[in-house]
Symmetry: C2
Subunit: 321 residues, 2 copies
Amino acid sequence: MKSFEQLLKEFDTHFSGRHFPESPNTLYEPAQYILKLGGKRVRPVCVLMGNELFSDISVDSFHAATAVELFHNFTLIHDDIMDKAPLRRGMETVHSKYGEPTALLAGDVMFVKAYEYLSKIQPDTFQKILPIFNQTATEVCEGQQLDMDFEQKETVSLQEYLQMITLKTSVLLAGSLQIGSIIGGASIGNQKHIYEFGRNLGIAFQIQDDYLDAFGDPLKFGKQVGGDIIANKKTFLLIHALEVASASQKKQLQDLIQANPANKVEQVLAVYKSVGVDAWANELKNEYIDKAMHHLEEIAVLNKRKEPLKLLAHFLVQRDY
Amino acid sequence: MKSFEQLLKEFDTHFSGRHFPESPNTLYEPAQYILKLGGKRVRPVCVLMGNELFSDISVDSFHAATAVELFHNFTLIHDDIMDKAPLRRGMETVHSKYGEPTALLAGDVMFVKAYEYLSKIQPDTFQKILPIFNQTATEVCEGQQLDMDFEQKETVSLQEYLQMITLKTSVLLAGSLQIGSIIGGASIGNQKHIYEFGRNLGIAFQIQDDYLDAFGDPLKFGKQVGGDIIANKKTFLLIHALEVASASQKKQLQDLIQANPANKVEQVLAVYKSVGVDAWANELKNEYIDKAMHHLEEIAVLNKRKEPLKLLAHFLVQRDY
């Protein structure tokens, strides 16, 4: 069994070459640009891990992993256009550097390329994988739309937020694992468990991300703490705080959101702590980790094969097992 | 053999239902909206015709035709965003009505849906069709990028314009016919001929479109004559006129492009006529029609099976055969 780092290295060797022709360079340079910005490559490695949980890694997994990573980058290009984001991984976004029309089109052609790689998979396996890829792609679009819808909504329930996060981020992790498992020859039952492992792990990861944005150690977190609070983002924390706060605390939060005072982060964090949002978020995260680990346990393969996925879970949600 | 009108009716019966789920409505209403704006449905009918040239129409052709029409509408949504077009078929464009972020995403999810329909085709045939669909989709993106690039360029050669038009519009007509022919069981040789028939016909159609924009009867043409001239669009006519004009005529054209006088259309048309652009465009169009018809003749099936495609050619480029 290979570690995340080993699989990442193997994937990068496959992925680092050029994926597009030279011409027209005005279209393909922007497409290559975002791929060179790097990233954690968690999703393609999940494809490889899903495969290796059941059998030796097949060349088909590299095709699928490449398709998944290209799909992910296509969504990043388009999301950045929609969010008018100037930076991605500390560098100019594709549309900032090359203009929105070209970025839009570079995303489109990258999506086609994802299907091209997918179609290299041997036919029997490909027929099983394609519906999952299509379903996942559809759900990711739905999740992004819900996320945009939530910006316009006064209140969002925890249930709605969970659904959005599941669609926007978890299903691609889950789908990547399932696609790998299909290539590895997993039964339908095992496929369901690995999918659920990924889905629950993805939700736990997002809860942690929201938590760290508010309560993280700025030195370790690597980005501005309190960014979500400043931007009035409807996170797990804000949604829960508004649900459990007393009338006066709720008013205080709403006033802070409206008024945007200089010490807003400090004041919102004080409310979060007084209503116990921090402990709640940790509990909720652990609930989803437990669900994920339960599904991993249920997969009918030798325990030692599951080690890399346990380490992956640890890597993503920073808890020992 | 069925006529264009019969096939159009059959396709519309299949296509007129809903293609997307109800929820999230914020994403799927915009997607359904553009499909309801109608259109000539030339490409999906080409799939059906490509099939019927070789054998009875299979249900797979309706899946492929739906995929092609959804793909086409996806490109329309995205092109309209890139071109900042306010109207499409006399109605608000998707991004004008629902905002750019949602339009972008509605296009993306429509593209996934195209692949979903394509994947309903029976496996053996699907494996042959998918590379053509991917190649066509890639080329349509390349064509759109070249079109945008040309707006920034001082001069565009006839060869460059031909390449752009081929990629942006002809290959989808050609690919639709080829996809249908594969479903109909065509040999590789026959597939090549029907593809070339469609590709050349598409170019002839574009030459005619450029011609009619300048020289068409306003009553018959259905849109403002001279629109391309007013917008300084690099059409077949302008490109050729600049290539064959004398030094003084060339200066006159360039001055008209720069100065945008009130009677610009009249003056540009006068130059076009004096350098014989109108006769040249008709000749060029006929050259491409002849090439198209040559490839149709080369297809090894009974002549009577070719009648609907001859009528289609006549319908598209208005010349008797």
